[in-house]
Amino acid sequence: METIALTINGIRINCPAGNRLLEAAEKNGIPIPHLCSHPSLHPVGACRLCLVEDEKTGRLMAACVTPAAQDMQILTHTPRIERHRRNIVRLMMAEHPESCIVCNKGNRCELRGVAARLGIGATNLYPMPNYKQMEQANPFIVIDLSKCILCGKCIRADHELVGAGAIDFYMRGFKSRPATLHDLPLEQSNCTFCGTCISMCPTGALSLKGDYAGTPERIAPSVCGFCGVGCSLSLGMAGEKIVEVNPDKKSNTVNGATLCVRGHFAMDFLNSNDRLAQPLVRENGNLIPLSWDKALDLVVRRLFEIKATNGSQSIAFIGSSKCSNEENYLFQKIARVFLKTNNIDNGGYLFGRQLLSMVEKRTDKGGRFNFFAGSLSGIEKAEVIMVIGADPCHTIPVASYYLKRAAAKGIPILLIEPQHTELSKDARIMLNPIPGSDLALINALSALLCRRGSSENSFIERFTRGFGSYSQSLNALDLNQAACDSGLSLDDIEKAADLLAGKKITFMTGRGISRQRQGGKIMDALLNLAMMTGSIGYAGAGFHITAAESNMVGSWDMGTVPDALPGRRLLCEEETQKEWEAVWGVELSLKPGLNMLQMIEAAEKGLLKAVYIMGENPLRALQEPERVRKAFERIPFIVCQDILQTETTAAAHIVLPGAAVAEKEGTFTNMEGRLQQFLPAILPPGDSRSDFDILSALYQKMSGSPHPLFLSDIREEISRVLPMHTGNTQSSHLVWIKDFAQKNEARADISGSSIEPKFSDVFPFKRDTPDSEYPFTVLLGSDRYHLGSGTRTSRSYRIATFENSAKIKPKQRAQSPHSLKYPDACGGELQISLADAKRLALKDGDAVRLTSKWGAISRAVRIQKRLSQGLVYVPGAYNHNDARCLIPLTPLFSEESSGWNYCRVKMEKI
């Protein structure tokens, strides 16, 4: 890169060409005060505080917008500039209310900081406060525009980083201010409450609503424990409470300056009254407190008794896709070493882990380095993006910002979803296939690309096997039939193929595929398409699989799965067995254990005698709740280790109180494969302990060792036995899994590795037979205010308040669709199409009952103009996640599965 040399304050410095003066000065340690500039936003030169003087001409210019030029001579702190700066700040202060003492921003106010450094106490100007009304109706953000200095950071963050476009400047001159469309309250705009604007705002104009006002007593870095994006957080604490969350200011974080509504605001679930604070044991039907020592002794004694009398197969362990790598490793080690069982699973089963394993299996391991797209930042460098079976705007909002930014840069997005999603407006082409027909559509797309010769032949020849028979079966495909099966016109599919032709594809896919009836076949078809187009090995291209939970990837890596040991080593190989027997010094069984669903089936048959659940809530998450509850009733011994009172702790015999992310130490592996460490910021409530401490005490009791096991011991063991985790023992905050970051701009060299991806067969699509008794198709989704089944997020005071205020009130019922105050169905309503609403004479807010073959739910309806006729959309997690009862509990990824995403229902007004 070309560098240029210039002089600032008599010091000769070098900077890359294209840098602005402010960047150049700051990189060289020369501070220039500024309020409106931010490294991740386009500079606009609004505040004028970064004025600098050109020594040659005497011109004053704003350093944030002036590009550095060769041989410039710049002065940053002359008396003249200082005088101007002081006057600018004095004028800002004259317009600012004198409310610093009660301001939420407290000592973090940048205006106050700048004034302090310039030595401005009293302005000696006539105060002219520009009072504007305050908005604090929503439970997340307080807007006090009398403190606004019109720097435009909130607006630029909204447009450039988040892509929501909820606010922009409104009016001009003295009246000018940021406002939503039609100047409505935020909750009636398309604001997603990501809170990025709060963290950006240099003054108290935008602040967090909560019961604490002012500067937190201390701040600590952490990692978000909700979804799999793994945002870096900066937690603000007062006493032992988290009172504030902001994006961490470190560089190279996944989230940069952004967060989402969950990360920013839902952390208040930690203060919920439902937190567990002491070990409990069930006696005469009630849970009563017990000391840690007695509780753990009881767990060890009962588990060993059950193993001795009923055998290892009668014991199951459910680890957690929300617990750390170290905890999951130790958890499965306890299960495999002391209880000799492979019946281990975790919540990742529900949210897409099978897709990860499929990629792995198809490539004989090493998949992560080549098939997976890796860093999310690659999305913004992609050639074309295909989003299929994923609603990233709601499941992994921060990753969706990458997609929106990519779209804003002109990178085409092909969106394949049965219904419109928030991403629709950013997509170049959207296809709405009939639910469950993705396979037909992908086959058609692949066939079109293959027939046009847009397969990447050099790649296919060099790296893959089986293309011949694959292309033959593609050529034999009846395109018209495929189009008809997917409910689309062949024209539209051809347009989509045009978009993909000749480009490397970046895929984003998730539970829309993993929970679909033919999920495995669809994933196979997608992998074939990726290989045919050579979309592997380039930075950017490859698969992003949405991880709904913080450590879905890590818990898989750490082996809390029935069929693999840590490091994703499949159990069926003898070599693996020998290796791990040597590591742990015990005999291991090669037989894969039961997955979550098979555990339920075993429990129903009375085969399961004990289950140890760590940080999962299967009684809330699994379909057919009544069946699952009955199955759990048949298990004689249930240990549940959790942070909250849940449906599952209510069924447990022993409850062990664990700690949340902010209260313990550990590492998560995010959906990119990035390993991130977090440290305790606050103490866990009452007697509760970090989950690692609980497991380590159990380990000690089971092994009879006199020495306790420390976190560092397990880290040392992990990095010794899992080569990809080398570097984990260092205490640095951010470590990439070894080799992961090495995927460069150019094709990663995959020829030397053992992988040789094989094309799989083209599976023909089989159509569902429609059922006239159940004329509607219900799609189960999720929305951004909740994660998974909502165990944690429904305990957030702010989220619960928002949900209540967003519910359609009875007086709104009779009004037209346009009169609804909240554009999103954030009160958990089910959504129906306009045509169906007319046919059934339904209005917004009317209550209906949905009945499937397996269950029924009642909800208010909301008319969604963009939904196609015959479709009903229900967001999950609401109302104790009751929507799950509509769908049968069948094994995912198998022939007999009916899928977990949608089912046929009938609808009646009540």
Binding site: H159, A164, G165, A166, I167, D168, F169, Y170, M171, R172, A179, T180, L181, H182, S189, K425
Partner: protein, 161 residues
């Protein structure tokens, strides 16, 4: 006269005609305003969608320029000049007479959507001070007496039409 339901076909026609224009926003808004007399708030979303902007951005542009309005205006828009020269020549009494004659305050529109009374900073016709502009016609060297006859012309116009 009630506020009318907006003519979506007309709006769609304008939007489609300018959909692919570079820097098409302001010309598109001008066309909309020309056709409807104002920019209906309902038009913001479709305009934004056509140009791939956020609706809030479109609103920002509309509210920035005094030339755009989101409220329906009267058939006759009367703009009384309040520039320095006109002020010296007594434009305050002209405005007062206008208010009395039309029974409107500054910025208001009559209930029958015939008249809108506005003020402007300067019409650039200071040699005619005090001046006003009715739609596209200038009137100069005004006196409070002249007001009645000028307004009368436009009233008469209405009864003719």
């Amino acid at each position: 006269m009630d506020q009318q339901e907006i003519d979506w076909a007309k709006l769609t026609e304008i939007i489609n005609a300018h959909r692919d224009d570079k820097w098409g926003l302001i010309p598109m808004l001008q066309k909309v305003q020309e056709k409807f007399g104002y920019i209906p708030p309902e038009a913001i979303a479709p305009v934004a969608e056509a140009l791939q902007l956020h609706p809030s951005q479109v609103q920002g542009v509309i509210s920035f320029y005094a030339g755009f309005t989101m409220k329906p205006k009267g058939r006759c828009v009367l703009k009384v000049c309040r520039g320095t020269a006109c002020h010296v020549k007594g434009s305050r009494s002209i405005l007062r007479a206008m208010k009395k004659n039309l029974n409107l305050e500054e910025g208001e529109t009559s209930a029958d959507y015939q008249f809108t009374l506005e003020t402007v900073a300067c019409l650039g016709a200071c040699f005619l001070a005090p001046t006003m502009l009715v739609n596209h016609d200038y009137y100069g060297r005004l006196t409070p007496n002249k007001i009645n006859s000028i307004v009368g012309i436009y009233r008469k116009d209405q009864s003719d039409g």
